[in-house]
């Protein structure tokens, strides 16, 4: 029930009702944008934005930088792990 799916906003349909269209894996669907627009983030600025969609609402913008930071950490962990493994192998 708490899951969501990433999609990219491609079009604003009704600025007043805060409705837009998102592309979710090639399928376009109408979604409500009320949770991601405010005075500082006008509705037009959301075009092209990746969002997390839950029960027909864009619930959060997905932060590209944070996503790559997380992946970076994962990479580093993988590297470190490989080094540990090599060390262990050498000791044997």
């Amino acid at each position: 029930m708490c899951l969501g799916i990433p999609g990219q906003i491609v079009e604003i349909i009704d600025a007043e009702k805060k409705l837009g269209k998102a592309d979710v894996s090639g399928v376009k669907r109408v979604i409500n944008l009320a949770c991601i627009v405010d005075e500082d983030n006008p509705i037009q600025s959301t075009i092209g934005q990746w969002v997390l969609i839950h029960v027909g609402f864009a619930m959060s913008k997905i932060d590209e930088q944070e996503a790559s930071r997380t992946l970076q950490l994962l990479n580093e962990l993988g590297e470190a792990q490989r080094e540990i493994l090599e060390m262990e192998l050498k000791q044997q």
């Binding site: 029930m1 708490c2 029960v55 619930m59 959060s60």
Partner: protein, 383 residues
Amino acid sequence: MKYVDEFRQPEKAEALFKAIDNLAAPLSDKLARAVHIMEFCGGHTHAIFRFGLEQRLSKSVELIHGPGCPVCVLPMGRVDDCVALAERPEVIFTTFGDAMRVPGSQKSLLQAKADGADIRMVYSPLDALNLAKKNPDREVIFFALGFETTMPSTALTVLQAAEGNISNFSLFCNHITTVPILESLLDSPTFNIDGFVVPGHVSMVVGEKPFATIAERYKKPMVITGFEPLDILQSLHMLLVQLQSGKPCLENQYARVVQKAGNIPGLMAMQKVFELREKFDWRGLGEIDKSGVKITEEYAAFDAERKFAVPNLKVDDPHECQCGEVLKGEIKPWQCKVFGAPCTPQNPLGALMVSSEGACAAYYSFGNTKELLDKRQEARPSK
């Protein structure tokens, strides 16, 4: 798919499994038992089973599946209320699909539908509102269920209904809140969990603060976590690092989606439409103070509980059900007396067998049931 595939890479998972093992082994030696990590959210439980993470974790870590599946903790009496509402001739009762098969004391919504009630599955509360607009001579009720994740969507739907003067739309509000239930678990003297995988999408709405407060108060490591396999593994690793350092705090693994302050427009809508109930009943866990919300006076016209008489009777679960013990992590699903027979996903006795997010259904569908039942048999004291 972007933001999905890159968090599923198997070679990265491999490295994480090893790193988790390295960290967990000495911790578990010190504790003289496995490190207990609870994932609270049913979405995490589902992902853990779907990607087979549990089987591949080292024996030094044990995952305890928490009570965060809203369908699973819905009391039987509330299901009866749904059926009573749905069986009114003027009503179109709308719900998410997950809730259809939850057993009530007489029948589930699915059985009520088969008996002729007008029950329709919708994807979004907005679909229910549209049905109300299209059917002005009927009463459309949306069964609002779920933790904070789904609250902004239902609150915004009520606000739209109010704005459009849609008087034949109402909510049967059964929303529940995360923090009180977490606290009630943590306050229980038998509860021994060492760290928490914190629900990512609840946090997306409420922000970091409520969980940071708990982490500090109870001195427990907590990590806000996304729903892909690498998210979950990375957060287990973060929890273990915290345990090792002895400095528990709240960290946010899911920063690509969860902002520190949460979702402000969503929280504002929730504040307008909902207020805390004195207490709310949880299946298997009993009544918990301030753990549910109801509709505020201002939007009373959209409250199905006020609009229609709802019986609201308390009904006890069948006595052989051990759902409560499973929800609290006291026993594993397969240790329940009726797991696998007669309780199965086709014929669920308890709600944990219903939803794909329920721990019992997950073990039943993804585990080796025969092996588990043999294990249960062995664990029984011989007579």
